[in-house]
Amino acid sequence: MSDTRPAGDPDLTTYRDVQLSPDFSDLRRRFRRFVFPMTALFLVWYFLYVLLAAYAPGFMSHKVGGNINVALLFGLGQFVSTFAITMIYVRWADRRIDPDAERMRHQIEGEPK
């Protein structure tokens, strides 16, 4: 393990150099801080829904108006949340990931090792 070496060490490959740079660490942290909690969120919501459907049929069958019941609303809610997360992520990544990623890509490809 030589992760203690700082960026800019001439012995490092270009990719190692970039990997150790603060800019890249920052990008990686930003990416992971968004996608990991978001993944946890939608998985929890999905399995909550699945478990309710399996073990709380009484609650899910509760009518809220006409023939529309809780189960249908929750099901449609999964669609809404999926669409919403998709839109939020795409907007976020376009603004918060792409510009920095693009800049680093040019740096790396502009000066091959």
């Binding site: 939608f42 999905y46 399996a54 006409g66 997360i85 795409v90 890509r105």
Partner: protein
């Protein structure tokens, strides 16, 4: 289910001539487009990845085309018509699964790989063993998925073209297979992608028209439609709208439902033919746009199937659906006939056929790419092969896979489609997803971890299926008929209680990946890991689009 498909044509609906003409037009139109698209099929990147020149929206539509197989169109509509709300649960799992692909897999995979899933998995591990394992699991998943589509083709034939009898159906399966081989040979990934795009557009428009039609009949009142579906389903009644009609019976069936839900949500991001589509766009931003488009199209389509399923229950009725050849799968075509007569049935039938054709073409190109690029090019020839040589092997492989699919389809004709598709999802979620996630996000992950996870996930999923009630020993309590693949009720070797292995095999594959890694002394290739991590996030060094 086997029995009804072998009966003589039991319905007198529809006009096979109209169906065949509309389907023929689709084949001619797509072949013309495939021929046009194939003029630039020179390099390996052209043949395998369509020159990486599709836009995000185009690829998103094609992904939807790949994903919305006959099982999801006919299968889900039928499941909702007969099992009500429990059918709807399938579509939710199929949709939410895309978020895994969007957030964790699509862009990183596009940035690090070239043509196949194995490219990414073997990136920083020992090339040959990992590539071999990834190729085997790719071929395995593709095979089960192919078989499901081809088996479905036989059933559709009985319903839609009025071809009864085993021989006639076998001929149609062979014709479907031959057309598909032609698409792949001539068009490569580019041609196949255009077939997917056209099919997806037709499918969504067709389902959309039917949905509006059904809603119009109930003055756009969803509650009214649901009420009519309940009124027309005396056996299920109110239960049609509640979860549990299919899966709520016992503790085991509830557990089975959770197992299925797990396989569905984690399977998509491990399906090789879906992963390969991310290589057809020029960069990760377009890969992101692809998934976003695919999610919208797939989601809207599943909302359509909700209306179509309850619409079929309300307008056609469960008894008529169960009596038709193809049973649940015939709900959507029967509904089309009730709404728009022969013409609409013809259009919907042709679309359903086109669906099978397109999905089979997508699977064939994935499997042949994996064999030619991973097994032949990288393992046997150790990369010492020209792109042309590899593509030639890919073409031969496509023919072989096509023939295997035709033979398999003829033998599997009448088998339970949903079982085969669920198996493919369970295998993909167990064998592929853990290794994909570990190799992208876990620095310490190593070769032993990958091999244990892939082979362990693949093996446990297949073994558990083989000894599940799906294969033997499931008997309908009321009728005494077998519900398993082996229809002889005296043969019963099942000991695993669930239909779907996901709840065991998926966690097992994750644990094996971890255990293999921590018990191995293989050092981390820090330079390779740095390259993979930096490339995956920044897109540096990623394969570019082909310029013509």
């Amino acid at each position: 289910m086997t029995a009804p498909l072998m009966l003589p044509m039991a319905t007198d609906i529809g006009n096979p001539t109209v169906n065949i003409i509309i389907f023929g037009l689709f084949v001619l139109a797509t072949l013309a487009i495939v021929l046009r698209a194939s003029r630039n099929n020179r390099t390996a990147a052209d043949f395998y990845a369509g020159g990486r020149s599709f836009t995000g929206p185009q690829n998103g539509i094609a992904i939807a085309g790949d994903y919305l197989s006959a099982a999801s169109f006919l299968g889900i509509a039928g499941a909702i018509a007969l099992n009500g709300y429990d059918g709807f649960l399938y579509s939710i799992g199929f949709l939410v699964a895309w978020l895994v692909a969007l957030l964790l897999v699509a862009e990183l995979l596009r940035n690090t790989g070239r043509f196949t899933m194995a490219d990414v998995l073997s990136f920083r591990l020992k090339q040959r063993p990992v590539r071999m394992a990834a190729a085997i699991s790719t071929l395995g998943v593709c095979f089960f998925y192919l078989l499901a589509q081809m088996a479905g083709a036989g059933g559709l034939v009985a319903l839609l073209l009025g071809v009864s009898g085993r021989t006639g159906q076998s001929i149609v399966i062979a014709v479907v297979g031959a057309i598909m081989i032609t698409y792949v040979l001539v068009g490569g990934m580019k041609g196949t992608t255009w077939v997917q795009i056209i099919k997806a557009v037709l499918l969504v428009i067709g389902a959309g028209i039917m949905t509006i039609w059904v809603l119009a009949k109930y003055s756009f009142n969803l509650s009214g439609l649901l009420g009519a579906a309940v009124d027309n389903s005396p056996a299920a009644g109110e239960k049609l709208l509640n979860p549990g009609l299919q899966y709520g019976a016992t503790g085991i069936s509830k557990l089975d439902f959770i197992s299925l839900a797990l396989a569905l949500v984690l399977g998509t991001a491990g399906l090789p033919h879906v992963l390969m589509r991310f290589y057809t766009v020029p960069n990760s931003k377009e890969a992101r746009r692809s998934v976003s488009w695919a999610i919208w199209i797939i989601g809207i389509f599943y909302l359509f199937t909700l209306v179509l399923g309850y619409g079929a229950a309300a307008i056609v009725g469960p008894d008529a659906i169960k009596a038709a050849p193809g049973k649940a799968n015939s709900a959507a075509p029967l509904l089309a006939f009730e709404l728009g007569g022969e013409l609409l049935l013809g259009v919907i039938s042709a679309v359903a056929f086109a669906t099978i054709l397109a999905v089979v073409a997508g699977l064939t190109i994935t499997a042949s790419t994996s064999f030619a690029h991973d097994v032949y090019g990288q393992i046997i020839k150790k990369g010492q092969i020209s792109g042309d040589g590899e593509v030639r092997v890919a073409r031969y492989t496509a023919v072989v896979i096509g023939i295997v699919a035709i033979i398999g389809g003829i033998f599997a004709n009448g088998q339970n489609i949903a079982f085969l598709v669920a198996l493919a999802f369970a295998v993909a979620a167990s064998a592929n997803l853990p290794t994909i996630l570990y190799s992208l996000f876990w620095r310490r992950f190593n070769t032993r971890g990958a091999l244990w996870s892939i082979y362990g996930g693949l093996g446990s999923a297949i073994i558990l299926i083989a000894f599940s009630p799906v294969v033997s020993g499931k008997v309908d309590a009321k009728t005494g008929q077998s519900l398993s693949m082996i229809t002889d009720t005296s043969i019963d070797f099942h000991w695993f209680p669930l239909d779907n292995p996901g709840i065991v095999s998926i966690p097992l594959a994750f644990v094996l990946g971890w255990l293999g890694t921590v018990t191995s002394k293989e050092p981390v290739d820090t330079d390779k890991f740095a390259e993979m991590e930096v490339r995956s996030l920044t897109g540096a060094g990623a394969e570019k689009a082909v310029q013509h």
